[in-house]
Symmetry: C2
């Protein structure tokens, strides 16, 4: 790195950004707006030119909005290509100068007034339904030999396809081929997601779905370049790694340098239209064994010789674009990284992760809170007369776990039953339970077992409830091992009671596992994990 690059990097604010969890949705647009380092920089960093200064100085929010609205309209409707680039620039710069509320107004307006002509669509449909199919009533039987009678169908179908395209597609398409436009679109979508987190507006949701499909297409793995990020990369790229590392925040320059040094690898996906900014990056540690704690990965100094490594551990995957949420860039990244590492270091035979379980505590606490008063629930179940309602109350603790819990916790909390005790213990200030050997020992079995259950059995629309689990499972990993007290950081304790999980990618099974998870929701787990899950089931049947 040259001196200038290093100087830039030194000025970069090295701060943990806990507010950005991995795969998190909807950052607030004001973060995007106020911190150019954190947004898709290209458009923003070059945006301090006349148009923007003029806007910033106008100070009249109403007039600013009308200006930007006018630019947006021109960018969509103008026929000549000549002025288009300038217009798209004006629009994107103008957009950044808008207040949050005005951005919201503009996006809702785009969603509602630039969709398409429903009257035309309905007319075309009526025409289409008026056509008589030449033979049979489906595509297979129709047009076996001479398909001339189908011409009218093809014609109307094509017109329908075009008529169903929203007008805002023009803006998306034009931005996509405009320098910096793809980055801008990802910021637009980040704003849209943050609006949708507050209000469920159908038109904006439809626009978001449409934009997401477009972005998925434009960011197809075929156009993404895998780049190994090293200390020789420009500081402007490295500062993105610092800013967006979402799993284990990078605290200082030495930390960053170590993550790019001996025994470490860092790979990113770059898109040609968004140069110098990885869309997603993955950090890899070369180890002797699959790590059980964050400390082993982050602080093994000096590291082992690379030639002694047998395991490549993916310890952090961060996406840099909240606006690309829901677009699975990581899948192909992990597959390609595995192939690359395997090629360079054939003696590496284990590919695993050390992953957070971001949703475990939230799930457990709400479960405990709702179940801790069995009397009330049982009354409700009995009065409803519904047999199945009796399953509504569930003691999620095993009898032995409950006994040990109540016994060990007497100095700290009291409660009607084990679940209430557990709830109170877990919500003690400063995670007090982690400082008591007795409590740690009493909590270990129930928490590990419930965590396994959470990962393997708790689902939402047929997919793992936990976002990180869902990510790795859809990529073809299996759940290998839970690690007790693997992340004692504030974040780690809050998210998962300090538990971390190793997912393992078996090269020869990736496709099979990804496919069975995709089609039937099947989750592959190691025997250790299954034992946790089944012990509860055995318990159930003997009750």
């Amino acid at each position: 790195m040259n001196k200038k690059g290093l100087a830039i990097l030194m000025r970069t604010k090295m701060r943990p950004n806990n507010h950005l969890t991995n795969f998190s949705l909807s950052p607030l647009p004001n973060q995007v707006q106020s911190n150019p380092h954190k947004s898709s920089g290209r458009v923003m960093e070059h945006s301090l030119d006349e148009a923007e200064k003029r806007l910033r100085m106008s100070g009249n929010a109403e007039r600013d909005f009308d200006l930007v609205r006018g630019w947006m309209h021109s960018a969509i409707s103008m026929k000549e290509m000549e002025g288009l680039d300038a217009m798209l620039n004006d629009f994107s710069k103008g957009y950044f100068s808008l207040s949050l509320e005005n951005r919201r107004k503009l996006l809702l307006l785009l969603a509602k007034e630039y969709d398409f002509n429903r009257t035309q669509v309905r007319d075309l449909m009526k025409q289409y339904l008026g056509l008589e199919l030449p033979s049979g009533d489906n595509a297979q039987s129709a047009g076996q030999q001479d398909d001339t009678p189908l011409s009218a169908f093809y014609y109307l179908e094509r017109n329908l396809r075009h008529a169903l395209k929203p007008t805002y597609e023009v803006l998306f398409e034009r931005l996509n081929t405009h320098p910096g436009g793809l980055g801008f679109l990802s910021i637009l979508r980040a704003d849209i997601l943050s609006i949708l987190a507050e209000e469920n507006t159908a038109s904006l949701r439809a626009l978001d779905t449409y934009l997401k499909e477009k972005l998925s297409m434009w960011l197809s793995p075929a156009v993404l370049e895998l780049h190994q990020i090293t200390w020789d990369d420009p500081a402007s790229l490295l500062e993105k790694i610092v800013a967006y590392e979402a799993v284990h925040p990078i605290s200082n320059l030495i930390d960053l340098k170590r993550r790019l040094g001996v025994g470490r690898r860092c790979f990113g996906y770059l898109h040609p239209a968004i140069p110098g900014e990885p869309l997603i990056f993955i950090e890899v540690a070369l180890l002797k064994n699959v790590a059980q704690t964050v400390q082993e990965v982050l602080w093994d100094d000096p590291p082992i010789l690379e030639s002694e490594a047998t395991c490549a551990l993916f310890y952090s995957i961060s996406s840099t674009k909240p606006g690309l949420s829901g677009i699975n860039l990581g899948k192909f990244l992990i597959k390609r990284v595995i192939t690359l590492v395997k090629r360079d270091m054939p003696y590496i035979n284990t590919f695993a992760t050390l992953s957070p379980i971001p949703g475990f505590m939230q799930w457990l606490l709400s479960k405990l809170a709702s179940q801790s008063n069995p009397a009330e629930i049982e009354v409700a179940a009995r009065t409803s007369g519904d047999e199945s309602a009796s399953t509504f109350w569930e003691n999620i603790l095993e009898l032995e776990e409950e006994r040990v819990l109540i016994e060990s916790s007497q100095d700290f909390v009291t409660g009607k039953n084990g679940m209430e005790v557990l709830f109170k213990l877990l919500t003690l200030s400063n995670h007090e339970w982690t400082s008591s050997t007795k409590l740690l020992s009493a909590l270990k079995h129930p928490l590990m077992r419930l965590c396994a259950r959470y990962l393997v059995e708790e689902k939402k629309r047929g997919k793992a409830l936990d976002s990180v689990a869902n990510f790795h499972l859809q990529n073809g990993a299996m759940i290998e091992r839970l690690n007790w007290m693997a992340d004692r950081s504030e974040k780690g304790l809050l998210q998962s009671g300090g538990i971390m999980v190793n997912y393992v990618y078996r090269m020869e099974k990736i496709e099979e596992y990804a496919h069975s998870y995709f089609s039937t929701g099947q989750i592959h787990s190691s025997p250790d994990i299954l034992r946790y899950v089944e012990s509860k089931k055995l318990d159930d049947t003997t009750e």
Copy 2:
């Protein structure tokens, strides 16, 4: 270029390929099949592996077809991504091994049996038409504030969009992201076009329209790279220039080297997925004045000093992919080349072409043939009782032209009138009229005038009838000058009676002209050209 490269180039068959006219449609697939150098090489050149050998040896056309059909089906329907690349390889190699007739069968099958489920589309339409719009009947008035009632619309509209997507889109999308797949798709489309030239099958035409829209999107100017082609480029790239130069065939190595040497430029558009093969290329000569004849451009040896040039003359634009017919790659190419040349050589102030007029003679001869018997046509017009029918017969020659023509041609041909005489003169064997000074002089005025009329006034669907004229006009050029006896080659005489035309690109007018041509069909011409056209009009009014 290294020795090996040169050796390859030396072996390249240097032959004129007159059968490929510029912007020509539908090469025969057997050309594509039999000559790997001329096809999109990537897939083909690496295709001599086991799968293909097996196929070639099977010798059973029926079984081969069933095999390839099966691979195509798997490539479309398989869910796992793992085997997909291998399947796409099998399919594309298998496709190349098919006979022309089997390719036709397969493409028709793809068009008919892999479009989409019309029953589902009709059901969705019925549901959609059954919905009541919350207020008003169009998109503008609907959903002004709360648009929750529109949710059902958005939902069905999205489903309709998906339902209207033909199944074969999956194949196109998968090939597009498969190495070599984009090149293969362009060959598929070349085959489709050649089939459509023989038979107008509605389903195949619909597939072609769909594929063309996809290719236009994938080949957007944003992803095309402008590359200056020089003598230092790999022989494998240069041989493409030799093979595809369609306007002025390259006859030998010295000719090729000159076209890349002093006073010459050659630029090509490359797509990252089709490396080493320009999709379209343009040859430029740096001259003192706008050239009037091919000879000036091709044979000025030694050339002028580049610093003395004031004109960049585009003397040849050739596309290398018949399968990309109808996709305007040239527009952005010309604009970007002008910008590049202007940047490097600011003293160049004229950007012009010396272009063939491929459709002039065909148009003129059919006009002369149909009009040369005025008596018959007048009878037809009178009996039809239609006043406008009287304009059906038109003496396209001026009185003076007719007099001179009849007078000068007595030694050669006779005829009832000027038009019959002209028809006979133009169709004499060996273009005999070009060897007689008297005839050349008698023919010059009518041919130049009619050529101007052909270029400026003869249209098809509002666009210039001549394909090359249409190409440059839609790119924003104007018609500047006609050049008599500018191309005396067999091809030049057959196509346009030896006349060539200079189109001129005025930087500051490109967008305006392109736009007015696009929206109203307006053709911009120089005063010289307009004088030819108007002399006839004056003549008409004085008649």
